[in-house]
C-alpha cells in the first residue's frame, strides 16, 4: 500500500517487478509500525550488528529509552535528503535510524551509503545517528564488512547491518510474547508468513526429510531392448499431409 501511495509502484503495477524491494520495504515496515514499539521494532532492531561495542551499546540503550508505544508517526518512507533518499527513517526520541533496504539488488552506487550518512548527519535533531543496511544473508554481511573496510563513511554516523533472515528469526521469537492481543498477533503472523514465503528462513537441519520414504528398488526404468517406434518409408503424396482440424 505505502509503495503505491509514495509512487514507487505504479497504480497499474506495471513496474512491480523492478520495485520488489520497495514493496517489501513498505510491506514490512509499513506493517511493523502498527505494532507497539516494544513488541515489534525494538526487539527486531536490537539484533542489528555494529562493528564496535560502543555503537552497539548506544544503539541498544537508545532503543530501550524509547517510552512511547506508538511510533507510527515517527516512521517515514523514502525521505529525500540533499544527496540521497533514505528508504526508511525512524526519528525516535533518543536516536535517529536511517535504513537502506536491499533485497535482490546491490547498492546503486559506490557512494550511496556515504551520501545517506551525510544526509543523516545534516538532518535535524541532536540524537545519535545510525545508518543500517538491511539485506539478505550472506551478501549483507559481506557488503557491510566491505563498507567498514573502505572507511568512507563520515564520522558521527554509526553504521551497522541487519539481515532479513534475522528479522524473520526475531519475529518468530517475538511471536511467543503472550501479551499480544488478537489484532497484533494477526499482524505478526502475516509478516512471518510473508518473510517465510520470501525464503528468509535459515537452515535448521536435514532431519525434516524423514518422509516421504523412497524405495530405491522401485525406480523408473526405460527398456531399451524393445522397439518403440517405426518409421514408414512409404512414398509421400502431394497434398496427402496430415492436418489438425
Amino acid at each position: 500500500m505505502l509503495a503505491e501511495i509514495h509512487g514507487k509502484i505504479s497504480s497499474d503495477g506495471s513496474n512491480l517487478s523492478e520495485r520488489l524491494e520497495d514493496q517489501l520495504t513498505a510491506n514490512v515496515f509499513g506493517t511493523l509500525r502498527y505494532l507497539p514499539f516494544h513488541k515489534g521494532i525494538q526487539p527486531i532492531f536490537s539484533k542489528a550488528v555494529f562493528f564496535s561495542q560502543t555503537d552497539q551499546t548506544v544503539f541498544i540503550n537508545g532503543l530501550a529509552a524509547q517510552k512511547d508505544e506508538f511510533i507510527g508517526d515517527k516512521v517515514n518512507f523514502w525521505v529525500k535528503g540533499e544527496r540521497s533518499e533514505i528508504d526508511v527513517l525512524l526519528e525516535l526520541d533518543h536516536l535517529t535510524i536511517g535504513i537502506e533496504v536491499k533485497y535482490h539488488s546491490p547498492l546503486s552506487s559506490d557512494d550511496q551509503l556515504e551520501r545517506e550518512a551525510s544526509d543523516l548527519l545534516n538532518g535535524k535533531g541532536q540524537t545519535p545517528k545510525f545508518l543500517l543496511l538491511l539485506g539478505t544473508e550472506p551478501e549483507v554481511n559481506m557488503m557491510a564488512k566491505k563498507v567498514m573496510e573502505d572507511r568512507k563513511l563520515p564520522s558521527g554516523v554509526h553504521f551497522g547491518y541487519l539481515s532479513w533472515q534475522e528479522v524473520l528469526h526475531q519475529m518468530v521469537y517475538v511471536q511467543k510474547n503472550e501479551t499480544f492481543n488478537e489484532f497484533q498477533r494477526l499482524i505478526l503472523e502475516d509478516l512471518v508468513a510473508l518473510l517465510r514465503k520470501k525464503g528468509f528462513a535459515r537452515f535448521q537441519n536435514f532431519q525434516s526429510l524423514a518422509c516421504p520414504l523412497v524405495d530405491h528398488c522401485s525406480y523408473f526404468h526405460f527398456y531399451t531392448d524393445e522397439q518403440f517406434f517405426h518409421l514408414s518409408a512409404n512414398r509421400i503424396e502431394k497434398e496427402g499431409y496430415y492436418e489438425f482440424c
Binding site: 544473508e137 550472506p138 559481506m142 533472515q165 537452515f203 535448521q204 537441519n205 524405495d215 522401485s218 525406480y219
Partner: protein, 190 residues
C-alpha cells in the same frame, strides 16, 4: 510394485531431491554468514559444481564445494584477489551417503594464480580428494587424512598443490547450532 506406487515413488524421489537442494541452499547461506564470525571469508560468493548436459549424471549436482580463506591472512601481492594462505573448502556430497568433507588445500604460494577459481573449476578441488591414481592418502589421526600428489606433473596441474588435509563427517549431523563447532572450528584445526 504397481504403476500407481511407482508414480508415487518417483514423485517422492523428486520431492526429496528438491527439499534436499533447498536445505543445501540454506546451509550454504548459513555457512557464509557464520564464516565471517568464525574468522573465514568466502573466496567467491558461489559454490563450485560439476554440471554437464552430455551425461545424465551431470544433470543434477552431487558435489558442492564452497571455498574459504582465513580472514586474517595476508592478501597476495600479485593482486589476484586471493590471500597467500591455504584454501579451505567444505564439500557437500551426495554421491554415496550424504557427507561433508572439510578440507585444507596447501600450496607453496598462491601468488602465481591469476584469479580466484570460477564456479566451473570444481574439478580443480574435487580430484585431489578422489583421484586415487594420481594422489595418495595417509590417515593421520581421528579420521584426518593427508593426501599428496604422486608426482610434480599432478601437483602443477592442480595449481602447484602440496597436500590436502581433510576430514569426512556425516552431513545429517549438521544443524544450524553446531556449524561453528563442527565445521569452522574443525577447519581451523586441520
Amino acid at each position: 510394485m504397481n504403476s500407481v506406487s511407482v508414480q508415487e515413488n518417483i514423485e517422492n524421489a523428486f520431492e526429496v531431491m528438491r527439499k534436499t537442494y533447498e536445505s543445501v541452499d540454506k546451509l550454504l547461506v548459513e555457512m557464509d554468514r557464520q564464516s565471517v564470525e568464525c574468522g573465514f571469508v568466502p573466496v567467491i560468493p558461489q559454490f563450485l559444481r560439476q554440471k554437464s548436459d552430455r551425461e545424465y549424471q551431470g544433470w543434477f549436482i552431487q558435489s558442492f564445494i564452497k571455498l574459504y580463506q582465513r580472514d586474517s591472512a595476508p592478501p597476495c601481492q600479485s593482486g589476484n584477489g586471493l590471500k597467500n594462505d591455504p584454501i579451505y573448502a567444505v564439500e557437500i556430497s551426495f554421491k554415496e551417503e550424504p557427507r561433508m568433507t572439510l578440507c585444507k588445500y596447501v600450496y607453496s604460494t598462491l601468488e602465481h594464480w591469476d584469479k580466484p577459481p570460477s564456479v566451473s573449476e570444481h574439478w580443480f578441488f574435487y580430484w585431489p580428494l578422489y583421484d586415487g591414481d594420481n594422489f595418495t592418502d595417509h590417515e593421520l589421526e581421528n579420521g584426518v587424512f593427508r593426501t599428496v600428489p604422486n608426482d610434480e606433473k599432478t601437483s602443477e596441474k592442480y595449481g602447484k598443490i602440496q597436500e590436502v588435509i581433510s576430514k569426512k563427517i556425516d552431513l545429517l549431523s549438521i544443524t544450524s547450532t553446531n556449524i561453528k563447532d563442527r565445521v569452522f572450528d574443525e577447519l581451523h584445526r586441520l
